[in-house]
């Protein structure tokens, strides 16, 4: 008994156009939303929430971001310090500011403190910064989901 071949010799091909379109759309979506900046992120910090939290209208001038975790450890860039030992790092920032003809009072200290951190530690940190001439502080919180 002889079977006939149902398919011709040409290879069956699916139409890839729609899939490629969709995949490109997805890539563009993720590329636009990706945030490579690690300065303002720290997984160890769970910010307190507030219903009044709104992203600032304009970026803060000369921001210095301090991450304060629940054990009162401060993460400043790649440095890990405590409140008592942060002064040298802040002095380095002041040197950087003066090289740009700016004073400490022109800088904004952004404090990203964990919600369980003792409030007194945040006060101590603010006091340390004040002693070096910093005046402007931003207490960062996350937007409360209503």
């Amino acid at each position: 008994m002889k079977f006939r071949k149902r398919f011709d010799s040409k290879m069956a091909e699916g139409d890839m156009t729609a899939m490629i379109d969709m995949v490109f759309q997805l890539i563009i979506f993720f590329m636009v939303l990706i945030n490579f900046s690690q300065d303002d992120q720290n997984d160890k910090i769970k910010l307190p929430s507030s219903e009044l939290a709104r992203p600032p209208d304009a970026p803060l001038t000369f921001p210095i971001v301090l991450h304060l975790d629940s054990n009162s450890v401060i993460y400043m860039g790649a440095n890990i310090v405590t409140v008592d030992s942060i002064t040298p790092l802040l002095k380095t920032e002041i040197q950087l500011l003066s090289s740009r003809s700016q004073l400490p009072k022109d800088a904004n200290i952004i404090i990203r403190a964990h919600q369980n951190t003792p409030g007194g530690v945040v006060q101590d940190l603010i006091k340390k910064c004040q002693d070096l001439g910093f005046e402007k502080f931003a207490l960062r919180v996350r937007e409360e989901q209503s």
Binding site: I20, S50, P56, N116, P118, G120, R140, R142, E143
Partner: protein
């Protein structure tokens, strides 16, 4: 003279396999590194050393907010101007601030009433933010009604 056609009848095809491989690699990379972060905002505090931020408080609303906590850092009492106690009810505190400011103040970062927050050292930072939230404004739908813009901290109370 007769020229033979060099072209064959076969359709020219692009080899898409390697491109699709790369595209999918990119897609997987972006999907894996994608992180949905909640919106963040700031409470601005201007505190020069040895004094309050901006101009002196020209209003008759000097508000001293005392926040007491237990050993675990939980809020136990909210005391305003050393006299009024609100327990741990933030709504009552906001109501008081609304009453004091008339609810129609237009505070600016350099003028208007100032609130000094004096807290126990152990009080959890979350409660400090709740206090700031209660005194600085009120959310009404999508709008935020500002009550007090100027906030400062009293010197830290050592443990």
């Amino acid at each position: 003279m007769k020229f033979e056609s060099k072209r064959t009848n076969d359709k020219a095809e692009l080899q898409l396999t390697s491109m699709i491989d790369v595209i999918f690699l990119l897609l997987i990379f972006f999907v894996m590194t994608f992180k949905i972060a909640a919106q963040e905002g700031d409470f601005s505090v201007k505190m020069p050393i040895g004094g309050s931020g901006g101009n002196p408080d020209s209003t008759d609303l000097p508000i001293k907010l005392r926040l007491r906590s237990n050993a675990d850092g939980e809020l136990t009492d909210i005391i305003v101007n050393d006299s009024l106690s609100f327990g741990n009810d933030w709504t009552k505190l906001r109501g008081y601030i609304l009453e004091m400011t008339g609810g129609n103040a237009t505070p600016t970062p350099d003028a208007g009433p100032e609130v000094e927050i004096d807290l126990d050292y152990n009080l959890r930072y979350e409660n400090v933010i709740r206090a700031i939230t209660a005194v600085t404004g009120q959310r009404q739908g999508d709008e935020i009604k500002r009550l007090v813009e100027r906030i400062k901290f009293a010197p830290p109370r050592k443990q």
